[in-house]
Assembly symmetry: C2
Homo-oligomer: 128 residues x 2
Amino acid sequence: MRARERLLAAIEADLKATAMPPLAWYDVLWELARSQDGMLRPYEIEERTLLAQYNLSRLIDRLEKEGLVRRENFAEDGRGRWVVITDAGRKLRERIWTVYARSIETHIGCKLAENEAKAITGLLDRFL
Amino acid sequence: MRARERLLAAIEADLKATAMPPLAWYDVLWELARSQDGMLRPYEIEERTLLAQYNLSRLIDRLEKEGLVRRENFAEDGRGRWVVITDAGRKLRERIWTVYARSIETHIGCKLAENEAKAITGLLDRFL
DNA sequence: TGATGATAGATGTAAATGCATCTAATATCG
DNA sequence: CGATATTAGATGCATTTACATCTATCATCA
């Protein structure tokens, strides 16, 4: 918990220093960008990011207001929506990644050998 | 990050289910209870819990309003304060612990062998 | 000593979060 | 079919958090 606290603070600080949005934005944009057609249902994003439903709903509002995603109706189920990433969204994700990747390397990568990193993930995966 | 998310959610849910306050309350009460005279300076709590200064200041407000701690002036430095845990604060910490300990065992302990837990802490300690 | 800078902690305001609940649509089952 | 339950997602409201800044005190040093 402490390690996560420290690392997240360091990474968020790097993002802020380069005028980038919070990490949660990245997580959502990344899930969308890597998905088949650049679109997911809100509940799918929820599952993948572990964001709470009501938080995600409002995060999508913010992303939409910034033109990074847009909402569309889901034809097969009147209750559902699609969240579609826009070109601007993809662009921004890439820009964030240039900072984020460096940040990961600086704060995490350089402190762990490959096999150590694998050991951590192997053990922590039990909780997922 | 994901593991922490899941575990914290599970633990907080256990606390909520037994009408206990959030985990941050426990962290502060615990640091106070284990300290020499049941009192610490705000900045000391801050260092130990990694809470942000402005968050801690208000968390102490809440604890004080509930009668779990009280603030006193720090004689040697007019800017400083003491945060002193009350009997009610110690009592509550113990009550929370009965739930928290069980929760840790349920969600974490039973999924890791002793040496595995040590391996994780050993590796994650590098980030502290 | 007196000016300047640093530190401890508090706080106003804006934004995000948590909780409960709502609406609209679909599923289930007598 | 119709009543009831369930699900997807949105939202009102209270609490909490983040950011910036403030006050008061202490430290430093010319």
